[in-house]
């Protein structure tokens, strides 16, 4: 083997080792192994993502790395995290500096951020201890978000109730307004009728007046004779003109009154528009409430929120088994309404041993059922007992034969 080849082999080996050493140097330089440094310790209750070699930064500047993590001797203790920090940053690390575990973005790795201390505090000694601030975990954020959502949901429920009450009040107001407008319409009609009568009377008076004036003009009767002179005639003529003007004014007033009344009844009147707008508002409100109820129903069935709604009692009877429902009834949080009536009050036994409904029992049952009317129509009504054989009377009686008392809820839908 010639020397040129040997030289190439030597170059290959030496060059390769140098290249490898460059890599080692780059890593060591990044970890500040070749710079002077000092050690500090910080204690944390939670060291998620922190391990030996985790970056340490001082106000964002790369400052060193974690060199050791001392596990607390007992539960509740705090982890002691030892860090190696560049010596040239020593003047910025004071006894009041705080170390915190942070994350590089949402997906990045954890690092420890040391906040520079205040000028009044002394420099931390080599091996000294800093206060540690625990990291904010994504799980904690989710828990807080869940709590916030719970509060928002409560607000929504309250808002829904308030909206229902508001729109209920608005409906009543609209009804009252309609009644008021109807009353006004009736009054206006009566006034119009009276005006028409008044107009007829006025026309009669006018006719009579014309007749008298005509007679007087012709010089008929005592008055005519008395008034044949021109002065009196002229005076009477002026009086007739005044009466005619008065009548015309009355006629004009009556027409204006009719126009006003017509305006109140017209399709474009303000009252009609008010009624139409109020009707639209009620329709929109009803649609909004239906959407809200639909959204809430969808949220109740969502797998993420189902547990939350179930905890608050918004369970879905369609998705529950009988056993789950019975378990739910044993929960102290839910107290289903049960009305119990004594069997000897409701039933009586005849001479043949047959059981029939006692006198007044029907009223007692209806009275008991009245307790259920306070709940909305959509509230669940559960039949807890039923019979499948016999006539209607037998089914009714044998629905709960083993009980000495009778449950009104089970009688709600005997089948």
């Amino acid at each position: 083997m010639g020397s040129p080849r040997l030289a190439l082999v030597g170059a290959f080996v030496v060059g390769g080792l140098l290249l490898f050493a460059v890599g080692l140097f780059m890593i060591g330089d990044r970890r500040q192994l070749f710079t002077e440094h000092f050690f500090v310790v910080a204690d944390f209750g939670n060291v998620t993502g922190v391990q030996v070699g985790t970056d340490v930064r001082l106000s964002g500047l790369p400052a060193g790395e974690v060199t050791d993590i001392v596990i607390p001797p007992a539960p509740g203790g705090r982890f002691q995290v030892q860090m190696r920090v560049r010596e040239d940053l020593h003047s910025l690390v004071r006894t009041d500096s705080v170390a915190a575990v942070l994350t590089d973005g949402l997906l990045g790795s954890a690092f420890i951020q040391i906040r520079a201390g205040t000028e009044s505090a002394p420099e931390v000694a080599d091996g000294g201890t800093l206060a540690g601030a625990d990291a904010v975990q994504v799980a904690d954020l989710i828990e807080e978000g869940r709590e916030t959502f719970r509060l928002v949901a409560d607000e929504f429920v309250g808002l829904r109730q308030e909206m229902a009450e508001t729109f209920s009040g608005l409906g009543e107001t609209v009804e009252t307004t309609t009644l008021l407008i109807n009353d006004v319409g009736n009054d206006v009609r009566e006034v119009t009728t009276v005006s028409a009568l008044f107009m007829d009377a006025a026309r009669g008076v006018m006719e009579d007046t014309r007749g008298i004036v005509q007679g007087v003009a012709n010089g008929e009767g005592t008055a005519g004779k008395l008034l044949t002179d021109d002065a009196l005639y002229t005076h009477m003529t002026g009086m007739a003109s005044e009466v005619e003007a008065t009548m015309q004014a009355v006629r004009g007033s009556a027409e204006q009154f009719e126009q006003i009344v017509g305006g109140l009844h017209g399709p474009e009147s303000a009252a009609q528009r008010l009624l139409v707008d109020a009707g639209d508002v009620v329709t929109y409100a009803r649609d909004a409430m239906a959407d809200l109820a639909e959204n809430t129903e969808a949220m109740k069935r969502n797998w993420l929120l189902r547990g939350f709604f179930s905890d608050r009692g918004f369970y879905n009877l369609d998705e529950m088994t009988v056993e789950e429902y019975r378990v739910l009834l044993r929960d102290e949080r839910y107290t289903p309404l049960r009305i119990w009536l004594r069997a000897d009050v409701l039933f009586e036994t005849d001479e043949n041993g047959g059981v029939t409904l006692a006198d007044g029992a029907e009223e007692r049952i209806e009275e008991a059922m009245g307790e259920l009317l306070q709940y909305p129509r959509n509230s669940p009504l559960v039949v807890e007992g039923y019979a499948t054989a016999g006539g209607p009377g037998q089914q009714f009686i044998s629905a709960e034969p083993s009980r000495t008392t009778w449950c009104a809820r089970s009688a709600a839908r005997p089948s």
Partner: protein, 252 residues
């Protein structure tokens, strides 16, 4: 029984090679010659392959990290991928192809032409002269070739990145080493010595046990490459597990 006895013989063959490495006489000249053949002459292949792998890895890494707005992590991700696994494995497979076939064919030809017997006849330890020197050369060349692969890969990655973002080489180089630790760099490189050992032993074993003339030589070369590649990949699984055990920080 024949497969089992063959496996036992192969294990004894491999163990003997390790033992003989440390026992005199040391065939330094022959080892250097093999180092020239295995290392120096593989350099162009490894450099070009590393360059291409770096470009491809950079493009793939960019496509993935771009979705998260983490383009700044591209050099570090590429370096981690190269140093931990891609570099060592690609170098191992390339050397298994090039050197494994060469060893298998060369030793197979020597066997069928009775050159190995001739060496024995002149009192030369053929095992030490032919097998140990090649094994040692492979074990020495592999870490160096892997280092070359890593650095040419960085250069390739930088070229691909600078064409898109105009990043400087210094910034790219520093960023590449920002997350790589000793536990990533050193074990990943040193484990290629095991790869070199596997490649050399497998090729030498098939070579010195060649039968059937020139047809047998070709057969030995093919079997050397295939077997060495499979052994190398399966051994890598064990080695990675071992590295995780010895250097727990590499699992992060």
């Amino acid at each position: 029984m024949a497969p089992l006895s063959s496996a036992g013989y192969a294990v004894a063959f491999a163990a003997r090679a390790i033992r003989e490495i440390f026992l005199p006489p040391y065939e330094i000249k022959e080892t250097a010659r093999q180092l020239y053949e295995v290392g120096w002459r593989s350099l162009p292949l490894i450099a070009v392959a590393g360059f291409a792998v770096g470009i491809v890895l950079s493009m793939h890494t960019r496509a993935s990290l771009e979705r998260f707005g983490a383009e700044a992590l591209i050099p570090a991700a590429l370096m981690l991928a190269l140093v931990r696994e891609t570099g060592p494995l690609v170098v191992g497979l390339l050397v298994a192809g090039r050197v494994g076939a060469g060893f298998g064919a060369e030793l197979g030809a020597m066997k069928v032409t009775e050159q190995i017997d001739a060496l024995e006849a002149v009192a030369v330890d053929s095992f030490k002269f032919l097998v140990v020197t090649r094994t040692l050369a492979c074990m020495l060349a592999m870490p160096i070739l892997t280092t070359v692969m890593n650095f040419t890969g960085i250069i390739g990655g930088w070229l691909a990145e600078s064409a898109i973002s105009g990043m400087s080489f210094e910034a790219y180089f520093r960023s590449a080493f920002s997350v790589v630790g000793f536990a990533d760099y050193v074990p990943g490189t040193i484990k290629t010595m095991v790869f070199g050992y596997i490649i050399a032993i497998t090729a030498c074993y098939f070579g010195v046990h060649t039968r059937g003339g020139t047809q047998g030589v070709g057969y030995s070369a093919t079997r050397s490459v295939v077997t060495a590649s499979i052994l190398l990949i399966t051994a890598n699984v064990v080695l990675v597990r071992l590295i995780f055990f010895l250097f727990p920080e590499t699992t992060g």
